[in-house]
Symmetry: none
Subunit: 229 residues, 2 copies
């Protein structure tokens, strides 16, 4: 069963990890990936809150950086509570059924309970998903995960084909690093303080290339290499 | 705003009452009614789990029988995890938007964490709502409430304004010409006959950047210019 992965970036409360695992299982998902859980791992509260989904918790993959968690991910959604000033396609949770990139290995990424995802983390994603709420927008993270898993479960067959030729997010980040090195070398970033924001914008542009294949990513790398000569 | 009431019949854990209140508020509901909470009332765990929705908890109406909680309710949905042998119309949570009896005072009723609603309690309802799950159907009560509140809230259409700073096709073609000239100069196209096809592929890649803005196109031109130096 190859289905969407749920990625938790630096989750703080074990209870939320456990509740997330439980609702993932309710809606047929099992690929849980956790970057730097605040209270370490394994986490007793995560185990006890997961109830019948202890297998999801015990099989969760733990990483110390986001890049490693994206090795096989071909399409990445980021979730945000507050809209960011970023030129990135945004859909609502209600639109995910129509938007879902069938056939690709998809992950949905959730941020810290306190502060969500950083702009850097979001810039890596292909698209942003918002869940519409009232003015009281502070949705518990496990509730947000529940709603998205529910939408996936009810709307789509989110299996993906193994033979896809789509570049993984990991490949993509390696390309971005290559581009950054060459731009640095060519003194593209004239004002040092502006570099992070500029790089974010650049990543954001390339990231919006719909279904970039491995060979196309190679072409882009060839272009960078050739131009930098 | 949707004015449906949420009725909890003999809820056991204060944490779930608090989480329910929070997600009700996320989705614009505020009418919480509780029949015989196991641990009495007020309940500290309900208060602390509600976070910013403490007002919903503090204003919850407490009853010692279901009938009194239904005084003003004109249409009652019951929720069940397991389908009952009962001749009663059943809808899924996905159908509630179409099914909802607009104009009536509606309540949605949830049972005990351990055993749900009794058949007697269900028999009072007008209809049953099911949330489709995997074989692991043990959905946390606050998650179930979250999903139904979410479905109700999303009946209201939310229109999103679009950017109007999108690069024209003409801007885009000028960028492609620029890129071609620089690639030519750097001897990227080693085999002359393959150049048209290669350029087509390259244009194809950049053309798939969704909603490329004018300023982003300028950034891309800056990258080409800088790398080609």
């Amino acid at each position: 069963m190859n289905k969407a992965a749920i990625i938790l970036v630096a989750p703080q409360m074990g209870e939320n990890i456990g509740a997330a695992a439980r609702v993932m299982k309710n809606f047929g998902l099992n690929d849980l990936r956790i970057i730097n859980p605040r209270d370490g791992w394994p986490n007793e509260k995560a185990q006890s809150m997961s109830v019948g989904a202890i297998d999801i918790v015990n099989n969760a993959k733990i990483y110390n950086n986001l890049k490693d968690a994206l090795l096989d991910i071909e399409f990445l959604y980021a979730t945000t509570a507050v809209s960011r000033d970023m030129n990135k396609a945004t859909i609502t949770s209600k639109e995910i059924a129509n938007d879902y990139p069938y056939g690709l290995k998809v992950a949905i990424m959730f941020g810290r309970e306190s502060s969500g995802l950083t702009n850097n983390e979001i810039s890596i994603s292909n698209k942003i998903i918002n869940i519409n709420t009232s003015d009281f927008s502070s949705l518990n993270i496990a509730q947000a995960i529940g709603i998205l898993c529910y939408e996936l479960y009810n709307n789509i067959n989110n299996d993906y084909a193994q033979d896809s030729d789509i570049a993984t997010k990991n490949d993509f980040l390696l390309f971005c690093e290559h581009l950054e090195i060459e731009l640095e070398r060519k003194n593209f970033f004239k004002i040092v303080e502006k570099k992070p924001k500029m790089m974010q914008n650049i990543i954001n542009i390339f990231n919006r290339i719909d279904k970039l294949s491995k060979s196309e990513l190679q072409t882009l790398r060839g272009i960078i290499k050739s131009l930098s000569r």
